[in-house]
Amino acid sequence: MNQTVVSYLLQFEPIKKLVLSLSNLLGFNAISIVSFLIFLIVILIVVGFLATVGGLGTYAERKISADMQARIGPNRVGPYGILQFLADGAKMLLKEDIIPTQSDKFLFYVAPMLCIVGVFGTIAVIPFSSGFTILNFNVGLVYLIGISSLVGLGVFLGGYGSNSKWSMLGGMRGASQIISYEIPVVLSSLSIVLLSGGLSFSALIGAQGGWPHEWFIFHNPFTFIGFFILFIGSLAETNRAPFDLPEAESELVSGYHTEFSGMRFGFFALAEYIEVFVVCGLATALFLGGYNVPMHLGGDGLIGQVLQVGSFVSKTFLLYYIVIVTRWTLPRLRVDQLMTMCWKYLIPIAMFNLIMVGLWMWLFDGRSLFTLLFKSASVASGAGH
């Protein structure tokens, strides 16, 4: 049930031989040591990749917004300004670290850490491909939703611990927004669990296919609505515009991270941009077919894995682009509008959706709309002949 990248790699002969020879050398079963080393290497690769994605996310955000507003954007550091994020990182590292005297020192230290730890925890279950998933947990979805709430805690404690009125307002808004929007996200992912019959990402993705008509978003009309509920809820959970009330720069200075300077602010920003990738990956895995490749192209070998990673990452980046474009298109909501939208629109619609998906599952035995249409079309043409 629980598969890891190690159990995938152990299929190959050289690694088996390495474990055996190490075991003989040390005199005990070296599988734990080898899996620790493999995990460490893979985690370093994935974290490095995601940190780059987070950094390039800030660059993409500035460049795309510049494009939309007929500006040039960052263009000095490196070709087309693409190294801007490294320069920003170096600048943040060199900035003075100011801790307000009246703040709660412990909470001030721990808040950016909680954000980073919460986001890093979710990395473990991101399904890049059928083999290259660090940990294919049998309760992967529950784990991801659970551990990503640590980010909300970090946002709230950052706002509370600063002892500044702007931060306090931002942190309070952040906490209420993040916990409220968790419910529509969970409800619409429940409908996908209902259709696929498993909580691990391999089961959720395995129930879908490579072609768009096999994806869960086009499974039936209710999952189509469910995708947008999940996407809107994810935007709110990551504090992205139009739901960026916790850091609303035009009303709350900078919201929950007003008092954080230098690298501490950098960690909040990094956590946010990686979390956007994670929630886009979640939407891809649940609704857009995940890592499935059409016609099972490339097979189960290395080429197939590379194609699967490409399929997953390209869909995720497409959603990432939509998230950025949304930020520069829509105006920010008011707090009461935000709460109205969540509790009076999204949650009732999500509950209705869940019931209707259950009904669909029961009546049509889990067949998708396209399957039913093809079937009725073939029956009709058969009757015509």
Binding site: L10, K16, L93, Q102, W166, I179, L354, I355
Partner: protein
């Protein structure tokens, strides 16, 4: 040859420790190269250049209490529903889909009734308005 049971939790532990170490190490390295010139004015909380008036930790009505309570109800509900929807497909395959669906429907119906009650009472509004009776001020 397979990994033992506890080995699967190793990546989670590594990632969590990695997060803590990354933050602390970066801040420690930064401490060696960044300037450090604190002054009483610089260490004040930011309040648009004015001297801050009072502490931010004051009594603060946020309508947060009720939102938190409703959230907890819904969160427990979704936690209870995960196992039910997880077995829905298996039970549907052996012809018991109707039973599970009715259970799900009843469960959600009770919740929807609770949500409707909160809605009617005005607990979902961010700024709660107390409706006055007609003729009274």
């Amino acid at each position: 040859m397979s990994t033992s049971n506890l080995d699967i939790y190793m990546p989670i532990l590594i990632l969590l420790i990695f997060g803590v170490v990354l933050v602390s190490a970066t801040l420690l390295i930064g401490k060696l190269i960044r300037p450090n010139n604190p002054s009483p004015v610089k260490n004040q909380p930011y309040e648009c250049g004015e001297d801050p008036i009072g502490s931010a930790w004051s009594v603060f009505n946020m309508r947060f209490y009720v939102t938190g309570l409703i959230f907890i109800i819904f969160d427990v509900e979704s936690a209870l529903m995960f196992p039910v929807v997880g077995v829905f497909k298996d039970l549907n395959d052996i012809g018991m889909g109707g039973l599970v669906f009715m259970e799900l429907f009843l469960f959600l119906l009770i919740l929807a009734a609770g949500l409707a009650y909160c809605w009617r009472k005005g607990d979902l509004d961010w700024v709660k308005t107390y409706h006055t009776e007609k003729g009274q001020e």
